[in-house]
Amino acid sequence: MFRYLTHRIGTALLTVWITTIAVAMLIHIVPGDPVQIMYAQSQGTTPEQLEEIRTRLGLNEPIWVQYGMFVSRIVQGDFGQTIRGNQPVLDLLIGRLPNTLLLASVSLVIAALVGVVFGFFAAYKRGTAVDTGLMITALIGVSMPHFWLGLILLFVFAVNLAWLPVAGEDWRSLVLPAITLGVANAGIIARLTRSSMIDILNQDFVRTARAKGLHKGTILYRHVLMAGLIPVVTMLGLQFTYMLGGAIVVENVFAWNGIGRLAIQAIFQRDYPLIQGFILIFACLVVTVSLIMDLLYAVLDPRVRLS
């Protein structure tokens, strides 16, 4: 268990470290003079101001010095100021992060509930029309672009039925974006749950349980569902990180004030400090979630701990 833990944490730290290198070099990968690109829309910027910004960002130093400067700033919690508006990057990101986490969490709950129920029933009724119907629905869910589904829901529930607001920041405004993001991911979970359940249903221990004369419900719930959910739980972790990505699109459609929308804006405006901060925070988040999932997996499945 100790080796498993240290290995996982080590991998996580390595990932974050590689990300810092990539992020620090980001500014040099884009062709052209980065400062000129950043300030291309600022009509009043003088060459002296541009030079000052180059100095401030350390762009005149050798690359390894630049990386050192970057890392030493980051570890002190200084993510710099945004190019547009001169706001502290970390404050902006931290201010928006809870909104995105909330959206992704609620969506995950929706995805898990819908996905597991669909998958479980499809497995239970495998080979029947119910199974086919559920799996086609799941496939539709997976294939529908977030953007399109979001707009459809918006026009049906906000414009035509007027049940929910179009956009905003309270819990009512969370409903549509969470369903959009949740439904699309529920499809994947449903398919995974189904195959995992079918796998379990064919196992010897299920047959044994049935032979012992256990109640059908008990078998399905205690033996099949519990065992079949192990791969699903790991998948949920992965799904959560996907959802953070999907949130970028959904946040734009529903004007949900999350970190993804901030990122899109930063990318369009070439606000490098903000883009760098976003990637770092996002990477840390994904790494943390994966780590938690790995640990959870170990708790759920003793075979992982032992190997």
Binding site: Q41, T45, R96, W163, E169, V175, V253, F268
Partner: protein, 519 residues
Amino acid sequence: MRKHTSRMLQAFLGGVAMIGLTASASASEIVWARYGDSDTLDPHASTTTLSMQSWRQIYDTLLAFDESGMPRPNMAKSVEVSEDGMTVVFVLNEGLTCHDGTPFDSADVKYTFDRALSEDKPSITKSAWGPISGVSTPDATTIEVTFEKPFGAFVPFMADPFSSMICDSNEAFGDEFGSTKAVGTGPWKLSEWTKGDRIVLEANETYTNYGHPTENKGRPFADKLIIRTVPEAQTRLAGLKTGELDIIEPPLEDVPSIKDDPSMTLHIAEATGQDVFFEFTISRPPFNDERVRRAVAHAVDVDMALDIGFEGLVQREKCPIAAGVFGNDQDFCAQHLAEYDPEKAKALLAEAGYGPDNPIDVTMMTWTGGGRERILQIFQNQLSQVGIKTEIEIMDIGTLNARVKQENEKTEGKATFDMMGWSWYDPDILYQLWHSPGAYSGYNSPELDAMLEDMRSTVDTEARLEIVKKVNAYLLEKAIHVPLYTPGWMWLYVTSADVEGFTIGAFDQPLLMDVKVAE
């Protein structure tokens, strides 16, 4: 059990529906949704239209633009430029008050100037303020600005949101200023700013409008103004339909149906100063040859392209400085512009040595959005008819800006030209674009430099107008800056039928003092 669930579901949906209905905008509240948020509320720290539009609500300016874009007295009841152009004196109206209740006087004006021109943290538009050598305040209502050399663009600058007057009480806020605090003298007071989501403003009870072109001379008619960020255009339109939003920027593709919809009104900004134009990479053939540049201008039927592409939403622009800016004169510019004439285009190309045996193959670039791709496709077709083969490249505006400069700095490679857009409140824009080295290191010549310097340092209106015309004629005849249309971006607004009194001031600055929102 099943019944119970369905009743619960009904109750839930019923509750949701009720809350949904009560959430619509109240009578005295204006909700204005834009695609993005302001970068900052500090008028010295951004140059985006999105930021400037919010400053316009919170702050006021010494002068104000009238409908046609000319500066008029506003907070300052008079402005006097000395004959040599070295001194400008403003006299303030009596009784101006900051949002925090402190009186606004010449000390606040001086504070604003000092802050913008400071050594350690100047305004990012510092150069646009001009070569100012000193600001003095002989008394509480008089401000005297002196210059190292005359600067013709100073007076209109005092009407632009870049020169928003900042109350000196903001000094106490330190870094909070522009972020959570912003004390101005404008029609709306800052109540709360949730970055990326909404700026909540309240009517300034003591506001007096001295110079803005709205009917309301007192406090705004509405009690509250909420400037929201809704990035997706379809979502904004949906919000307008449900009554959640009152004023929006529409999706361009929906404009025809919006025009026919009696429940909404389309507004088109005028005198925006936005100029969409062709410019060419002159560091290598073929566009280093004036004849080829003129051939491109002769080859495109701009009127037809605009008819198809915009259906009357934009105007043909014939001057390098767009409608709304000092010196814009369509008739004068038409005399110097290379108008649509494909035969002439072919003849010029043949003269320059291009034709079927030596065809021209170029890249034509522009930036994303605003219906520009469609326009370029029409131009592409028209250019092919005179034998110019073009490949279209569409990119983000930041990339385009950098790319154009790079192309101008290269002496080898495929020929390029681009459809660019700039907006400014004064012909000084031409100095920034075409005085060597120029914003894009593009065309420059000693004679053009001399004319532009002359334009900058001339303060007499008549004399300045003559020079502006000369510069326009030069740019048009040499096909350096080929104007196409105006406005070009963020120029359309849609209000719901409940809204009346919506005014768009010059340079795309919505003025909301007159707006009333019906129940």
